[in-house]
């Protein structure tokens, strides 16, 4: 039943698994996990900080194992044998690629040169044994042992005129595993406020905004002026304007036609044509685009294009207005002008939430700041919500950019104190009830 190749494979795997066991020990994992075929690759990948690659590798290895088993029972000349062999060959290429990724992660964790990846791929058993037994090879990056902040359990009371956000959790499935993207965000934003949304890359800013608008639903309750945005999404979505970071407009259409089509889509269907045209003209004038009405979008400057993109959403006069980095690519003067316009919109009784990475040049215009940060589980959490003045005191920083640096991860050049602030703010929330 077993031939010489099978016996050779068995001993190769055994050597490899012994090596894995000692590597696991160095990584603070249980050694016996190294002897569970296929699963041990996942544990190794987790240790190499390549968890997703590990999960994919497990699936690929399962496919390989099943196809190996199936072709043992097939005659070599059959069409099915040929097809499965071809498929297996393709999967084997993927296995090598993912193995290389995991080995690359291991090199990072153990502070070794990336050339080791090649040695790992060619002589996996011996390399794992050497890495496991050698005292010279020790991990240089350790996994965070700090605990994530507790859930506050707070549920903020609904406000009549404004936005009430109670996000318990926002999850997504990532390759068979549930991932928590956001957790425990509770806040209320009164009408007429211009709010700054601050957070490092991957902190969940856009996920938070999508959850707030109901575009990507979370385990949450979001009320806008008393209306449930989730339950009444189809009618309420016209009351929410979302301006994306990129200027997503057809470049070969004119400014006027772009705005007219936006008006046709976003304004109520029974609105008079005359009234619609009047609204288009008002918005054109309001955003300083009247003179450019017949210009093609592709001919506009960055600032003009951004204003048009905002105007497209503003045409329906939404109560909640959200802008994702509206000042990206704009110089200071133009950006300031744009934020002053947003301040005016907020003053007209709207709620305006803005993401920006250069908040300090316009900090005086904002009422509040929301600081999002990744906790140790890499979940987006609320690190602070309140006025900018109080935020400076809370973080003991004199500018919003320094606040951002304080919550950013160390590998991003920040101070890596996100978890500390999340814990402190959660405690503060709990205390406040």
């Amino acid at each position: 039943m077993f031939n010489a190749t099978d016996i050779y494979s068995f001993f190769s795997y055994l050597i490899c698994y012994i090596g894995y066991a000692y590597i696991f020990k160095k990584l603070g994992k249980k050694m016996w996990k190294a002897f569970i075929p296929i699963y041990n690759t996942y544990e190794l990948a987790k240790g190499a900080k390549r968890e997703l690659d590990g999960r994919i590798q497990v699936v690929l290895n399962c496919i390989m194992a099943i196809s190996d088993l199936v072709i043992r029972f097939l005659p070599e000349s059959s069409l099915v044998y040929y097809i499965i062999s071809l498929f297996r060959g393709t999967v084997a290429i993927c296995v090598i690629v993912y193995q290389a990724r995991i080995c690359s992660g291991l090199c990072e964790v153990f502070g070794k040169n990336k050339y080791w990846v090649v040695i790992w791929l060619l002589f996996e058993g011996l390399t794992s044994l050497y890495w496991g037994l050698s005292k010279k090879i020790q991990p240089v990056i350790t996994l965070e042992e700090e605990n994530a902040a507790d859930v506050s359990g707070v549920h903020v009371e609904e406000i009549e005129e404004g936005l009430t956000i109670n996000i318990r959790e926002r999850t997504a499935m990532e390759f068979f595993k549930k991932k928590v993207l956001l957790k425990d965000l509770h806040l209320t934003i009164p009408k007429g406020h211009l709010v700054l949304l601050l957070g490092g890359s991957g902190a969940g800013k856009t996920t938070f905004l999508n959850a707030v608008t109901g575009y990507e639903k979370a385990d949450a309750t979001v009320l806008l002026n008393g209306h449930d945005l989730y339950k009444e999404y189809e009618s309420m979505k016209y009351d929410v304007g979302f301006v994306p970071q990129q200027d997503l407009m057809r470049p070969n259409d004119t400014v006027l036609m772009t705005l007219e089509d936006a008006a046709k889509l976003r304004l109520p269907g029974n609105i008079d044509k005359k009234e619609r045209k009047k609204r288009v003209q008002e918005v054109l004038e309001g955003f300083g685009l009247s003179m450019l009405a017949n210009n093609l979008v592709e001919k506009l400057s960055g600032g003009q294009r951004k204003r048009l993109s905002i105007a497209m959403e503003f045409i329906s006069d939404p109560s909640l207005f959200i802008l994702d980095e509206p000042d990206s690519g704009l110089d200071g003067v133009v950006a300031r002008g744009l934020f002053e316009k947003l301040r005016a919109i907020a003053d007209s009784g709207k709620i305006v939430i803005v993401i920006t990475h250069t908040p300090d040049r316009v900090a005086d215009l904002f009422d509040d700041v929301i600081v999002l940060a990744k906790d140790v589980d890499r979940t987006g959490r609320l690190a602070y919500y309140g006025s900018l003045e109080d935020a400076r005191k809370f973080f003991k920083k004199d500018s919003m950019e320094h606040v951002l640096l304080a919550v950013n991860q160390k590998e991003e050049g920040g101070e890596g104190r996100a978890n500390e602030f999340v814990k402190r703010y959660t405690k503060q929330m709990k205390k406040a009830g």
């Binding site: 575009y215 057809r250 070969n252 259409d253 046709k264 976003r266 304004l267 109520p268 269907g269």
Partner: protein, 381 residues
């Protein structure tokens, strides 16, 4: 507390289709979309120039020509729409978030693409007429052959167009779309079922291609199975100068004397030539071989007599005989009878069947476009 929900109606699906249709036609007039029409004319002109002479005239010419016409349709259809959705996918996502109905967006594209395909089909027919392509005499469905063939060209182009639209809706960027397109194109051409001989499973696969149904409809409309087949005649014509090697086959052929009598009608010249050849040691009663004919030609040329004495050419003689007796056309039709394709039989019924399948393709492809684009919100940021 119970609150009043404001019920504001926004533009419905039909009104939104109108908005997008307006946008697309603006792009057609003011931007480069109109360029697909002269491109269709150029492609049709090239194809007619190469295969137009025998299109709808002979069996081989019709198969080659209708295959080329199907290729034009598929090419035009693919190029019309392969990039239209994927190039503005992020914009579509934004507009969908703002209340755009995907079905309206696709419907607008379907109407606009139908207009493009119609224009391209009319242009192709017109170019064929200008290039003096002989169209079939009898219409199958409508009162006009041009309308019949026009409908087939339109449906083939439109089905290919909708297939490309579906690909454009599925993929996320133009690079992927343009990578997939050649594979689809090759699949359509190889599995068209008419031009390449396929068997078994491969033959069944042809049912899934737009090219097969377009080609079948065109061949049926051309009455392919009742056209003459010229392949045999043309091949025989190429063999007309081949002489039988008469070495070792003396009993079946002319002597030198006989051949000379055929070539030289004037008796005096004949006698003079015979004297020359006898003086050169040629045996006039010997059977004339190919090599012998060459030797005679050399001797006579040296003597200043420029004639070509040839060996036996049986193919030419048979062809000459058939033509002299008016049997050529009959032979061509007889030869076609052995090469008929039952798929191209059935007249109007078969044409209607092909059209129905093409319409089904159009419906399926457009439906899949809508379904795939409905998931646009799931796109990664």
């Amino acid at each position: 507390m119970e609150r009043e929900i404001k019920e504001v109606k926004h533009k419905g699906r039909i009104a939104q289709t109108g908005i997008y249709l307006g946008k697309l036609f603006r792009m057609f007039i003011f931007q480069s979309d109109w360029k697909v029409l002269p491109m269709a004319a150029v492609i049709a002109g090239l194809v007619c120039f190469v295969v137009g002479n025998n299109l709808f005239v002979t069996m081989e010419g019709t198969l080659l020509g209708t295959f080329a016409l199907s290729c034009i349709c598929i090419w035009n259809g693919f190029f019309n729409s392969i990039q239209v959705i994927c190039r503005e996918r992020a914009i579509v996502k934004r507009e969908h978030r703002s209340g755009m109905h995907i079905s309206s967006y696709i419907a607008a594209h379907m109407i606009y693409q139908a207009f493009l395909c119609l224009c391209q089909s009319v242009i192709t027919i017109q170019i064929c007429r200008m290039m003096k392509v002989t169209f079939p005499a009898v219409p199958q469905i409508t009162a006009s052959v041009l309308v019949d063939i026009g409908i087939t060209l339109f449906l083939t182009t439109y089905a290919a167009d909708m297939m490309a639209l579906m690909v454009s809706a599925f993929v996320h960027n133009t690079t992927t779309a343009m990578t997939i397109m050649p594979f689809l194109l090759i699949f359509q051409l190889v599995f068209s079922g008419g031009f390449f001989s396929l068997e078994g499973f491969s033959l069944k696969l042809t049912n899934l291609t737009v090219a097969k149904w377009g080609l079948t409809a065109l061949c049926t409309q051309a009455d392919y199975n009742h056209l003459p087949m010229v392949l045999l005649w043309n091949s025989a014509y190429k063999l007309k100068d081949i002489e039988i090697n008469l070495d070792n086959k003396e009993e079946i052929t002319n002597t030198v004397k006989d051949e000379l009598s055929d070539v030289f009608v004037d008796q005096e010249v004949l006698n003079e030539v015979k004297d020359i050849l006898v003086a050169e040691g040629i045996d006039l009663d010997k059977p004339l071989s190919n090599e012998g004919a060459e030797e005679l030609n050399l001797i006579l040329k040296r003597e200043g007599i420029d004639v070509q004495i040839q060996g036996k050419k049986p193919v030419w003689e048979v062809m000459h005989y058939i033509e002299e007796n008016g049997m050529r056309d009959e032979l061509l039709l007889k030869s076609a009878e052995f090469n008929q394709n039952p798929s191209y039989d059935g007249g109007a019924f078969n044409v209607l069947k092909c059209w129905s399948v093409l319409i089904l393709f159009i419906a399926v492809f457009s439906g899949l476009s809508v379904i795939s684009l409905e998931f646009i919100d799931k796109d990664k940021r």
